[in-house]
Amino acid sequence: MTKPLLDVQDLHIHYDTDNGVMKAVEGVSFTVGAGHHLGLIGESGCGKTTAGRALMRVMPRNASIPHGKALFKGRDLVQLSEDQMRELRWRELSMVPQASMDSLNPVHRVGRQLVEVLTVRGEFSKRDALERASELFDLVGLSRDRLSHFPHEFSGGMRQRAVIALALALNPDMVIADEPVTALDVIVQRQVLQTFRQLQDRLSLSVIMITHDISVVAETCDEVAVMYAGKIVEWATVQTFFNEPVHPYTLGLQNAYPNLAKPDMELISIEGYPPNLLNPPAGCRFAPRCPFSQERCFAEEPPLVNVGPDHKAACHRADEVDMLREQAKFPATWQQSIENG
């Protein structure tokens, strides 16, 4: 098997806050192969955005990486100096941040912003940069004459695609996209997701798609990593994730998402809230909300282990998965005390 483009090993990210140290990400490991799309999924506060930003090393001042490696093309992103990171950013690894539709400078034409990146960071000549900018617009499905427009003349979806074009300007190997379609209308959302798919085919682009919506992952990704309270609880190919989920949290997630093609499906939500990361509980972090938790789960943290080919999960009861999957189908299983004191 070829070496993965990105190999994250046991990454820990902490935030220094007024109330203590918040352990936002604890021991996260995953890989992304060249040309593969990884979906990083989880609810707000689970650490997925933190992890994405850590890879780009664009974190707030009170964040630190006390432990772990992130090997990108063999180099450890955690250890690189700021200058080295600056060299790497945009050229080899770039990011489409959350709500980035608003990150375009409103007083400059969009084409100019693209050309700037190309000439300043990419050492393109002005003429080559214009040509490249046109190519990029073609790539993301925007018409060339829009290069001379201002951001406010673009709709939300078009701005999002312009930002994607910016991220791709210098032909990076990998793009980290944080909630790239959340604020968009359904039809535009589909267009943007298709763009990502096409880019994957045409450029062999690797993408880490950070999102809370599993439908988006189903549409665009090859592999999925599920994060909960700063940890990865399941890692699988997309087919396995949907057809043979193992971790109770994943089982819960699948119940909670409405499916337009399944109008009679009863939605079941996962009651309760993720733990406080200032003082995370000792055992499995999902145990308090898990309908299948046992004593062992509260005492001992389950390690992320192989449960099948290209499939990992962190659950003490992974071997009982068939029974758990059956039970997970019933609303009564999840009807824990809705009362949360």
Binding site: I187, V217, N259, S269
Partner: protein, 355 residues
């Protein structure tokens, strides 16, 4: 108590008695002078709602779907009398909303409640939860202090905010989005309304939290026999909660009918495109090309004739010239020249969705 398997709302028959009658509703927001005036032309206006007529029956749960700029939120706000329409009427129990003054208006404000989209901004940051819930009762002078607290406790129980004591003295910034939206729902119920308008009630919440709120809303609506109007761009939410669905585009209703029919067998090309575009959590489904290009045009310059014709894959000559009148096809009302009244597609080009 296990979740009772209630009848999926999309299958319940809609009752008969008409509660709300919206007729030819129009709302234009004129653009002032200055830059926006110059861009739009002197007589420019944002034509948010352009002739909407909908009949809502008592106890019906209707969803209004559409993308941004289609006018669904504006329609909801007109129903709530947040502002007045440019023309057209809304009748509730046969009373024209436009003619309501003072006392009658205050009474209407008791019966019709609105849930906003943003749970983080829907509550006064200075009020504790207790105070926020008591407020509607205080404004309308209802009940003694004991009776008020009883109602508060009951409402919190109904929206699953238990134990109530742990929430009463908290401030909004101490609660999560899901909890806040439950408080907003409880507040909406305090005055025992019979009409509830929910504008994107769960779009700002994590998908894993939505299911809980949606179930709560569904159960409460049934239990209290509320007439609910859901505004959302999320068709799967509407499919889960509503027995009737209306699809709006650039200020007009293009299709309206029983939810199951509208979503499973969409007729209007726009509805078909919308449904084809919704991502589905099933990786095996073939990715369909979106049959239409571009985004929704601005509501300032609405195309002539059928507003969808520039993007419609089945556009005919007549579509750019005339506005299609609504016709009834198989129990669903569609405004499209592809159809004639009852049953038969006017054109063999009628698009069918691959399912």
């Amino acid at each position: 108590m296990a979740n009772p398997q209630t009848h999926a709302p999309k299958d319940t028959p809609v009752p008969d008695e008409v509660l709300i009658e919206i007729t030819d509703l129009v709302k234009h927001f004129p653009i002032g002078g200055g830059l926006s005036g110059a861009l739009a032309g002197k007589n420019g206006a944002v034509r948010a709602v352009n002739g909407v007529s909908i009949t809502i029956r008592r106890g019906e749960v209707i969803g209004i779907a559409g993308e941004s700029g289609c006018g669904k939120s504006t329609t909801a706000k007109l129903l709530m009398k947040l502002f007045e329409p440019t023309s057209g009427t809304i009748r509730v129990d046969r009373e024209d909303l436009g003619s309501l003054k003072r006392k009658a208006l205050k009474r209407y404000r008791r019966r019709a409640q609105l849930m906003f989209q943003n749970p983080y901004e829907s509550l006064n940051p200075r009020f504790t939860i207790r105070r926020a819930l008591l407020e509607p009762l205080i404004i309308h002078g209802i009940g003694t202090p004991e009776e008020r607290m009883e109602r508060v406790m009951q409402a919190m129980h109904d929206v699953h905010l238990r134990p109530q004591e742990s929430y009463l003295d908290k401030l909004p910034h101490q609660l999560s989005g899901g909890q806040l939206q439950r408080v907003v729902l409880a507040r909406a119920l305090m005055l025992e309304p019979d009409i509830l308008v929910a504008d994107e009630p769960v779009s700002m919440l994590d998908v894993s939290v939505r299911a809980g709120i949606m179930n709560t809303m569904r159960d409460l609506a049934a239990k209290r026999n509320l007439t609910v109007i859901y505004i959302s761009h999320d068709l799967s939410l509407l499919q889960y909660l509503c027995n009737t669905t209306a699809v709006m585009y650039l200020g007009r209703v293009v299709e309206i009918g029983p939810t199951r029919k509208v979503i499973q067998q969409p007729k209007h090309p726009y509805t078909q495109a919308l449904i084809a575009a919704v991502p589905v959590p099933e990786p095996e489904r073939s990715q369909k090309e979106v049959p239409i290009q571009g985004g929704v045009p601005s509501a300032i310059h609405i195309p002539s004739g059928c507003p969808f014709h520039p993007r419609c894959p089945h556009a005919m000559d007549i579509c750019s010239k005339e506005m299609p009148k609504p016709v009834k096809v198989n129990g669903v009302q569609v405004s499209c020249f592809l159809y004639t009244d009852d049953g038969n597609p006017a054109d063999s080009q009628r698009a069918d969705l691959d399912r």
